[in-house]
C-alpha cells in the first residue's frame, strides 16, 4: 500500500473511532445542547451541571460501588479458580481433562444470553437471589475466555521447567505460584482486562436481577434513566452523556494504562489455539 494512502486510511479511520468519545465528553460539559457542526467545537458555555443533574437522578457513587463489587467478584473468581483450571488443563494429566477442555470450547459458542430464562428462573425464582451481589456475580463468576487464555499461556512454557521444579520437591500449588505465574504475568494482565470489561459493561443480566435502584450497577441505572426519565429532564442529553462519561472512564483508563500488554501476540496465541 502506498505510504500516504496507508496513513490516510489509518488516521482517518481512527478519527471516526475517537470522535464519538470526544463528542460525548464535550457535550456532557455544555449548558445547552448544540447539535450543529460548529457545536462540536464549542468555545464557551462550559459547566459541570450535567454531572450534578445525573447524580440527582441516579446515585452515581452507589452505582459505581455496585459496578465495582460485581466486577470485583467476577475478577476474584476468574483469577483464583480460572488460573487453577487453566493450569490444570495445560500442565496436569488427569482423568476428565479432555472432556473439560471440550466443554470449555463448546461453552464459548453458546451465547450466555440464550440461557437467560432458565438462569433467571434458577437464581431469581428458585434461590431468591434477586437484588443481591451474589445473584449478579454467579453466572459470570469464572470467565471461560480467560480460562482458555490462561491455558494457552501455561502451555507455552517449557516442560523442563516443571520437571525440574517437581524434582526439587515443589508442590503443584507452589510451582504455579512461584514458577509459572511470574512468567506469564503480562499475559495474565490481558486476561484480567478482558474479564474486567465483561461485568463492568454488562447490561442484560444485572438489569434482570436488580429491581432495587440501590443495587443497580451504573450500566443498568444509566440505561433506566435513558429509557424512562430522560424525556423530562431540562437538558436530557447533557445528563445522559455525563453518565456515559462516568461509565466509560474506568474501562478506557484501565485499557490505556495496560494497552502495551494488550498485544496481538497475546491474543494471537489464543486465536491460533
Amino acid at each position: 500500500m502506498n505510504r500516504f494512502l496507508r496513513y490516510l486510511v489509518l488516521f482517518g479511520g481512527a478519527l471516526l473511532f475517537v470522535f464519538p468519545f470526544y463528542y460525548m465528553l464535550i457535550s456532557s460539559l455544555q449548558e445547552e445542547p448544540d447539535t450543529t457542526l460548529k457545536g462540536a467545537f464549542p468555545t464557551g458555555g462550559f459547566t459541570l451541571d450535567n454531572y450534578t443533574a445525573i447524580d440527582e437522578r441516579v446515585d452515581l457513587l452507589q452505582s459505581l460501588v455496585n459496578s465495582g463489587i460485581f466486577t470485583g467478584g467476577v475478577l476474584l473468581g476468574t483469577v483464583v479458580f480460572g488460573v487453577l483450571a487453566g493450569y490444570a488443563l495445560a500442565r496436569l494429566h488427569y482423568r476428565g481433562r479432555g472432556t473439560l477442555f471440550a466443554v470449555m470450547l463448546l461453552v464459548q459458542t453458546i451465547p450466555f444470553q440464550l440461557l437467560i430464562i432458565p438462569i433467571y428462573v434458577m437464581i431469581v425464582r428458585t434461590y431468591g437471589l434477586a437484588d443481591s451481589y451474589l445473584g449478579m456475580i454467579v453466572p459470570f463468576a469464572i470467565n471461560s475466555t480467560a480460562v482458555f487464555l490462561f491455558r494457552q499461556f501455561f502451555l507455552q512454557l517449557p516442560e523442563e521447567l516443571f520437571a525440574a521444579a517437581r524434582l526439587d520437591g515443589a508442590s503443584e500449588l507452589r510451582i504455579l505460584w512461584s514458577v509459572a505465574l511470574p512468567l506469564v504475568r503480562p499475559a495474565v494482565l490481558t486476561a484480567i482486562l478482558l474479564t474486567f470489561i465483561g461485568p463492568w459493561n454488562e447490561f442484560l443480566w444485572p438489569f434482570l436481577v436488580t429491581k432495587d435502584a440501590d443495587m443497580q450497577p451504573l450500566a443498568v441505572s444509566l440505561a433506566n434513566y435513558i429509557s424512562n426519565v430522560a424525556g423530562r429532564a431540562a437538558n436530557p442529553y447533557g445528563a445522559i452523556l455525563a453518565g456515559a462519561v462516568v461509565l466509560s472512564v474506568p474501562a478506557v483508563a484501565l485499557f490505556v494504562a495496560f494497552q502495551k500488554h494488550f498485544t496481538d501476540s497475546d491474543l494471537g496465541s489464543g486465536v491460533k489455539g
Binding site: M1, L10, F11, G13, A14, L15, F17, V18, P20, F21, S27, T35, T36, L37, A85, A88, L89, L92, H93, Y94, R95, G96, R97, L100, V103, M104, T109, L114, L115, I116, I117, I119, Y120, V121, V138, A141, V147, E172, N201, F203, L208, A219, I226, S227, Y237, I240, L241, A244, V245, L247, S248, A251, V252, F255, V256, K260, F262, D264, L267, K272
Partner: protein
C-alpha cells in the same frame, strides 16, 4: 533395601489410583470449581431450557408445588407461528448480512495498513480499541444524540437527512444497529487479522511477485487465503453477537422499534418470558437459537476445513 520394600506398596496402589484418576489427580481438585461452575451455569440451565420448552411452565411462588404438564411441541409451534418471533430472526439475518462483510473488509484493510513499521501505533491501537472496551450503554447514549431527529448527523446531511429519522425509520433502524456493532467490535477483529497476517509466510509473497502478480493480485491470492482462520472467527463471533443482541435494540431503537423492525430474538425472549410471564415459549426461542448458532459454527468450520 528396607526403603524399597517400604516404597513398593504405596507405589502399586498409586499406579492403580493413577489408572483411575490419571497421573496427576491433583488436576481434578484444581479444575473442580470451574467444572462445577460450568454445570451450574451452563449444563443445568441448558437442560432446564429444553425441559421448560416442552412443558407448560409459568412462574410460581418459590416452594409452591404446581403442575406443569408436558405439552409436546406446542411451545415451538406457538413460537414459529408468531410473526414477532419470525421478524426478530429475519432481523438477525439482516444484521449478519451487513455486519459480517463490513467487518471482514474493514478489519482486513486496517490490519494490512497497520502491519509493519508505522508512526503513532499506540494512538491508533487505543483509538481502534476504545469502543470495544466501553460499555454499550455509554456508546448508545452518544449514538442516540448523534442520530436523533435534530442530531448532528442530520444537521450535517441537511436536506439529505432521512425522513423519518434513522432510529425511527423501519428500513434504517436495523442497519444503524449493525453499523454500531461493527464499529464497536472492529478493534478486536483488526487484532485477530494482525495476528493472522504474521502467520502468512513471506516466501509466498516473493513467489507471487516472481510469478508477476501485482499487489492486488498478491493480496487476493496470498493474503486473503492466509487469514482465512480469522475470517471464520469473524463469522462465528458475529453470529454469536447477532444471536445475543439485546442492549442496542432495547435502548438505541427504543425496544426494537419502529414496530419490531429492529427487534432481536433475545429482546423478544425478554418481552415474552419475563415481561409477559411466558418462560416456556421464551425458552423455546432460546433452544432454537442455540441450535442455530451451533449449526452455523459447525457449517463454517466444515467449509473452512474442506480446503
Amino acid at each position: 533395601m528396607t526403603e524399597t520394600v517400604d516404597r513398593t506398596r504405596p507405589a502399586r496402589s498409586r499406579s492403580r489410583l493413577a489408572a483411575l484418576l490419571g497421573r496427576q489427580p491433583l488436576g481434578i481438585v484444581f479444575s473442580a470449581p470451574y467444572a462445577v461452575f460450568l454445570v451450574v451455569v451452563f449444563a443445568y440451565p441448558l437442560g432446564l431450557a429444553v425441559w421448560m420448552s416442552f412443558h407448560d411452565y409459568f412462574f410460581a411462588a418459590p416452594g409452591v408445588e404446581v403442575e406443569r404438564p408436558f405439552v409436546g411441541l406446542e411451545n415451538y409451534q406457538a413460537v414459529l407461528g408468531d410473526p414477532d418471533v419470525r421478524e426478530s430472526f429475519l432481523n438477525v439475518v439482516e444484521f449478519l448480512l451487513i455486519n459480517v462483510p463490513l467487518t471482514v473488509v474493514l478489519a482486513l484493510v486496517l490490519a494490512a495498513a497497520l502491519n509493519g513499521a508505522i508512526r503513532g501505533r499506540t494512538f491508533l491501537r487505543i483509538a481502534y480499541f476504545a469502543p470495544y472496551v466501553t460499555a454499550s450503554v455509554a456508546l448508545v447514549a452518544v449514538w442516540l444524540f448523534l442520530f436523533s431527529q435534530g442530531g448532528m448527523v442530520n444537521q450535517a446531511l441537511g436536506p439529505l437527512a432521512p425522513d423519518p429519522s434513522w432510529l425511527v425509520n423501519s428500513t434504517l433502524a436495523m442497519p444503524v444497529i449493525a453499523v454500531f456493532v461493527t464499529w464497536k467490535q472492529l478493534g478486536l477483529f483488526v487484532l485477530f487479522y494482525l495476528a493472522a497476517l504474521q502467520n502468512v509466510p513471506k516466501e509466498l509473497y516473493e513467489s507471487a511477485a516472481s510469478d508477476g502478480a501485482g499487489r492486488i493480485k498478491a493480496f487476493w491470492h496470498v493474503t486473503v487465503p492466509g487469514v482465512r482462520p480469522a475470517t471464520t472467527l469473524v463469522l462465528i463471533l458475529a453470529t454469536i453477537t447477532g444471536a445475543n443482541l439485546f442492549t442496542e435494540p432495547y435502548l438505541l431503537t427504543n425496544g426494537g422499534g419502529p414496530n419490531g423492525a429492529s427487534s432481536s430474538p433475545v429482546l423478544v425472549m425478554y418481552q415474552k418470558g419475563i415481561e409477559q410471564g411466558n418462560p416456556d415459549t421464551a425458552s423455546a426461542i432460546g433452544v432454537i437459537l442455540v441450535i442455530g448458532v451451533l449449526l452455523i459454527a459447525l457449517v463454517t468450520r466444515k467449509v473452512v476445513e474442506r480446503d
